[in-house]
């Protein structure tokens, strides 16, 4: 249990504040999005820092693989604070800018205590899904299944909004590789506009990627809890010289 990475749920986001955890996640192939601004330049949004924000699909995969545990932010932080002592110190830098510096509370908590806190504050993936999306929806489950499917095949996944898909898949660390696939997840019987086919196929080919439609195979899912088996098709725009 001591090895589990606590994934802190604050409101609707899943955050990781500890740099060592971020490094471990990166090695596990979970990229997330750095979403903290830098204290000295809070307005810029090109270079972001801790915390790392994870998508629900990344978190679900980690929990599934027994690598991480989702914890409720409020309870988790309260208990961490109880154990550690919070010392505040005001430091003035040049230019009259004041910062409040606190000690790293996390490092004061040892593994055993942390594991206990995590057990206390744990929430399940399903509970979080309900909290985020109202009721549990098949689409989210399907997206999660698609994420697992590609992560298990050693693809690194990032959100695909800028390419008009649900995910983009990289053959390795996104810092080293360009992505190869744009994934679009479709539910069973979901209708699909042909103009979209043109748009997405064209876009994917223009950025030298394959556009992949991911769908659930209709025949092989009989039980509720069984993993849906997925089928993928890739689409390419022919005739570009």
């Amino acid at each position: 249990m001591g090895d589990l990475i606590p994934l802190v749920v604050n409101g609707g986001s899943i955050l990781v504040f500890e740099l060592s955890h971020v490094k471990r996640l990166r090695d596990l192939g979970i990229v997330g999005i750095l979403s903290g601004t830098l204290p000295k330049a809070p307005q810029q949004n090109v270079f972001l820092g801790l915390p790392l924000r994870l998508s629900i699909y990344e978190a679900a995969w980690l929990v599934n693989q027994s690598l991480g545990v989702l914890v409720d932010g409020l309870r988790y932080n309260e208990q961490v604070l109880n154990i550690s002592s919070l010392k505040e110190e005001t430091v003035e830098l040049q230019g009259g800018v004041e910062y409040v510096v606190t000690e790293d509370t996390y490092s004061q908590v040892d593994d055993e205590q942390l594991a206990k806190i995590c057990r206390d504050a744990e929430i399940s993936v399903d509970a979080l899904m309900v909290r985020l999306f109202g009721s549990v929806k098949t689409r989210q489950h399907l997206l999660s299944a698609a994420f697992n499917y590609f992560r298990d095949r050693d693809y690194y996944l990032m959100p695909g909004l800028r390419f008009g898909g649900d995910f983009v898949a990289y053959p390795g660390d996104p810092l080293k590789f360009h992505s190869h696939l744009i994934l679009k997840v479709l539910e069973q019987k979901e209708s699909f506009d042909l103009l979209q086919l043109v748009t997405s196929g064209r876009l994917a080919t223009a950025v030298k990627k394959a556009w992949v439609l991911v769908g659930e195979s209709s025949t092989q899912r009989n039980k509720q809890n069984q993993k849906p088996s997925l089928h993928c098709f890739s689409i390419e725009w022919a005739g570009f010289g």
């Binding site: 949004n45 008009g164 979209q196």
Partner: protein, 413 residues
């Protein structure tokens, strides 16, 4: 964005719509001067002549609708030529846009001496060039990689140098051609470079293919399908296999707004009302996709734009300032029913915006406000003549919104 120059476009594409003007038929009004009463008389005579005659009309083009009433085509050459040259309606079934199959086949089989260059040939030449360049680049990259592993021997070094020189020469040729042409063309499926230059290249490539044909395949050894095409007595093509295919909105515009065509189905002519119902399909609601599209189509046509299908860019329509041969389309139009965004959820929208941005067009969202179902039914119940249809279309309102990607980090000063 200007495409090609040097062609006599103003002559060929004189009329922006298939409408005959009195000037075309009767000529210019004679010059008059206030001081010369004789010129008044000739003017009066001419005016009297014009007003006493019916307005000039060209023969209506025959459009054939197929069994299910969903596709429309023009089979005769003259009609297709008219609809293409006067307003750029439709698309050749065997061509990219202008119905040029016949001209291309005649050129390929050497049946004509006319030097006409179809846009398809231009594209083929350009693609060939690009492929050759990519081949050179690949070989050069291989040598480069090899050079990192070990020292290249003399032959390899010489080969690498010549490859680099060739690639530079090709790049240079392209750049000069581009800088010479007044405005550059960046769109995906269109022509680059100087017209004369391209024309020369196309001619050369055609000549080469003809020479090869002469050497290897004499006329008796033409392909079976080519031989059936040629009439041996006159040495011309037996028939034009190509038809001009029209969209629903185009046919309806030609009939409803211009009265320039006659639509036939099973040899009987369709009334305006029948065509309307055929286009409408089974869903009789004011937000029928055909109605929304037509309202937007008519709107932009009446503003003087040439509107054509936007299928190849994943949108509903693209707008040309004059027409495809002269200028690239400037705008891509997405028709959105007011209050409902249809398929456009964010990822799809981002993809479309990227595609449209990638071909240097501006994305225009056109929101269409529809009349209520009651108003719609009321008009449909009355006799559906041109007046009633006009009343119906007047109830629609369109609003254009230009979409542009805004990047905060680039815009900040």
């Amino acid at each position: 964005m200007l495409k090609r120059r040097g062609k006599n476009f103003n002559q060929i594409y004189r009329n922006p719509l298939p409408v005959t003007l009195s000037v075309d038929k009767y000529g210019q009004i004679p010059p008059t001067s206030l001081a010369n009463p004789v010129s008044w008389i000739s003017l009066a005579c001419r005016l009297l002549y014009i007003y006493s005659h019916l307005p000039p009309r060209e023969e209506l083009t025959k459009v054939i609708s197929d069994e299910d009433g969903l596709t429309f085509s023009v089979a005769d050459d003259q009609g297709s030529m008219r609809l293409w040259r006067q307003g750029f309606f439709g698309k050749g079934t065997l061509s990219r846009s202008e119905p040029s199959w016949k001209a291309r086949v005649e050129q390929r089989l050497g049946l004509t001496n006319a030097e006409n260059i179809a846009s398809e040939d231009v594209t083929a030449v350009r693609r060939g060039e690009r492929k050759a360049f990519k081949g050179l680049r690949q070989e050069a990259q291989k040598l480069e990689q090899l050079g990192r592993l070990r020292v290249l021997n003399e032959d390899e070094q010489a080969r690498y140098k010549s490859l680099v020189d060739q690639m530079d020469a090709m790049r240079l040729g392209k750049e000069t051609a581009e800088s010479e042409s007044a405005l550059k063309d960046e769109s995906v499926a269109t022509d680059k470079g100087e017209p004369e230059d391209i024309g020369r290249k196309v001619q050369e490539s055609l000549k080469i293919s003809l020479v090869e044909e002469d050497d290897n395949f004499p006329v008796s050894e033409l392909r079976e399908e080519d031989r059936t095409l040629i009439d041996p007595e006159t040495n011309t093509l037996r028939a034009n296999l190509e038809a001009l295919q029209l969209q629903k909105t185009e046919v309806f515009f030609l009939l409803f707004a211009l009265d320039a065509v006659k639509v036939f189905k099973n040899d009987s002519s369709l009334l305006l009302q029948e065509l309307f119902y055929a286009c409408l399909g089974s869903s009789h609601s004011p937000d029928n996709k055909f109605l929304l599209d037509y309202v937007v189509y008519h709107h932009f046509r009446s503003l003087g734009y040439c509107a054509r299908s936007g299928l190849k860019f994943g949108c509903d329509m693209i707008l040309y300032k004059r027409g495809p041969p002269m200028l690239h389309a400037e705008y891509a139009v997405l028709v959105v029913r007011d209050g409902d965004c249809g398929w456009t959820d964010w990822p799809d929208f981002m993809a479309l915006a990227r595609v449209v941005g990638g071909v240097r067009k501006t994305l225009v969202l056109v929101f269409v406000e529809c009349p209520t179902q009651e108003e719609f039914d009321e008009i449909l119940l009355s006799e559906l003549d041109r007046c009633a249809l006009s009343r119906l279309f007047l109830r629609y309102k369109v609003t254009e919104v230009v979409y542009k990607r805004w990047s905060p980090s680039r815009t900040r000063d």
